[in-house]
C-alpha cells in the first residue's frame, strides 16, 4: 500500500503518483536567499522515513539549477570542511535533518536570481521513485 501525504502550509509537497518515494515525508523545506548573482544556494529540510527499511536518496536535481549535490560540513581543528555525499540515508522510522551548519542541499548555478517568497522545485530520487519537493525561498539568519 502506497501512501502519499500532502502537507500543507509553508510546505507544499507535490508527488508524482505511482512513482513516489514510498514512506518519505519532507517537512520544513526551505532555501536560503542569497545575494543577487550568487552562484550557489543552500537548501534545508527534514526527511522522515515511515517505512521499515532504510530509505536511500541516490541523487537530486532541479529544473531551476544546473546541479544539486548533498554536502556535509565537518569542523576539525577550527577548519570547516565541506564534503560531497554520494547519497542520503534516512533510517527506518527515523529522520534525517538537513540543517544549517551540518549539511545542505547544494543548489548550483541558479537559472535566475531567487528571492524571498519564490519557490524552488527539487526532485529527490530514491529506489522506489521520485519525490518532487517545492522549497520556499526565505531570508537567511
Amino acid at each position: 500500500m502506497m501512501t502519499v501525504r500532502i502537507l500543507c502550509g509553508a510546505l507544499a509537497l507535490a508527488s508524482m503518483p505511482g512513482h513516489a518515494c514510498e514512506g518519505l515525508e519532507v517537512s520544513d523545506a526551505r532555501v536560503m536567499e542569497s545575494p543577487p548573482g550568487a552562484s550557489v544556494l543552500a537548501g534545508f529540510a527534514t526527511l522522515r522515513n515511515g517505512g521499515d527499511a532504510p530509505l536511500v536518496i541516490r541523487r537530486a536535481d532541479s529544473p531551476d539549477f544546473s546541479a544539486v549535490e548533498f554536502h556535509s560540513l565537518v569542523r576539525r581543528d577550527g577548519l570547516i570542511r565541506m564534503t560531497v555525499d554520494s547519497s542520503l540515508t534516512v533510517p527506518p522510522h527515523g529522520s534525517l535533518a538537513i540543517k544549517s551548519g551540518e549539511r545542505h542541499l547544494m543548489l548550483i548555478k541558479p537559472a535566475r536570481d531567487f528571492h524571498e517568497g519564490d519557490r524552488i522545485t527539487v526532485r529527490l530520487f530514491c529506489s522506489t521513485g521520485t519525490l518532487e519537493v517545492k522549497m520556499p525561498v526565505e531570508k537567511s539568519g
Binding site: M32, S34, P35, P36, G37, A38, S39, V40, L41, A42, S66, A67, E69, H71, L73, R75, G78, L79, I80, R81, M82, T83, V84, S100, G101, H104, M106, L107, I108, K109, K139, S140, G141
Partner: protein, 197 residues
Amino acid sequence: MIAAVALTLGMLAWREQAERARPLVSGSLLPQPRPIADFALTGDDGRPFTRAGLLGRWTVVFVGYTHCPDVCPTTLSRLKAAKARLDADGARLAVLFVSVDPERDTPDHLGRYVRYFDKDFRAVTGPVDALTALGRQLGFVFVTNPGAEGEGYGIDHSAELILLDPKARLAGYLTPPFQAETLAADLGTILRKRVAR
C-alpha cells in the same frame, strides 16, 4: 570605618577589573592584544586596504568566500542581527569579510555580496600569498577543496570570528556556532572594553 571604606574601594576596583576582564560567552580574549604587521589587500571599492584601515574601532573579521552556500551567508546574517541588537553601539563596530577566493571574488562582486547583508559591512581580498601571510598573523587558514562544489571548487576555511581592537591588534576570537543573542552579548562586551596603550 576605615576598613569599611577600604572594602568599598576594594569592591569598586574589583568591579572595574571584572568589567574589563569579563569573559566572552562564546570565545576568548588574548591576555595581551598582539600587534599585527602591515599588509596589502584590496578593498571592495577596488582601492588598497592596509592595516591603517583597521585603526580607530573594533573590527570583527570573518574569513570565507562568496561561493560558500551555508556557513558564510549564515554567519554574515547573524552578524547583521547581532549588530542590530547593539543599536547605536553597533555603529562603532566594523565587520570585515576577508575573501580567500580572489580568483572568483572580484572587489565589485564582494561589495555587492556583503552589502546585501548590511550596508556597512566591508570586504577585502588579495593575492593568495598576502592572504596566507595575514592568516599566519591572525590565526586563520584556508585550503582549496577541488571536490566540494560541482564543476568548480570549494575552500575549507577557518570559521572563527577574529576580533581586532581599535589599535589594529589581534584581541581574541569568537567560536561557532553563532547565535545573534550571544554574538550581541560578546560584541557588547568588547565594545565596552578600554583599550590599553
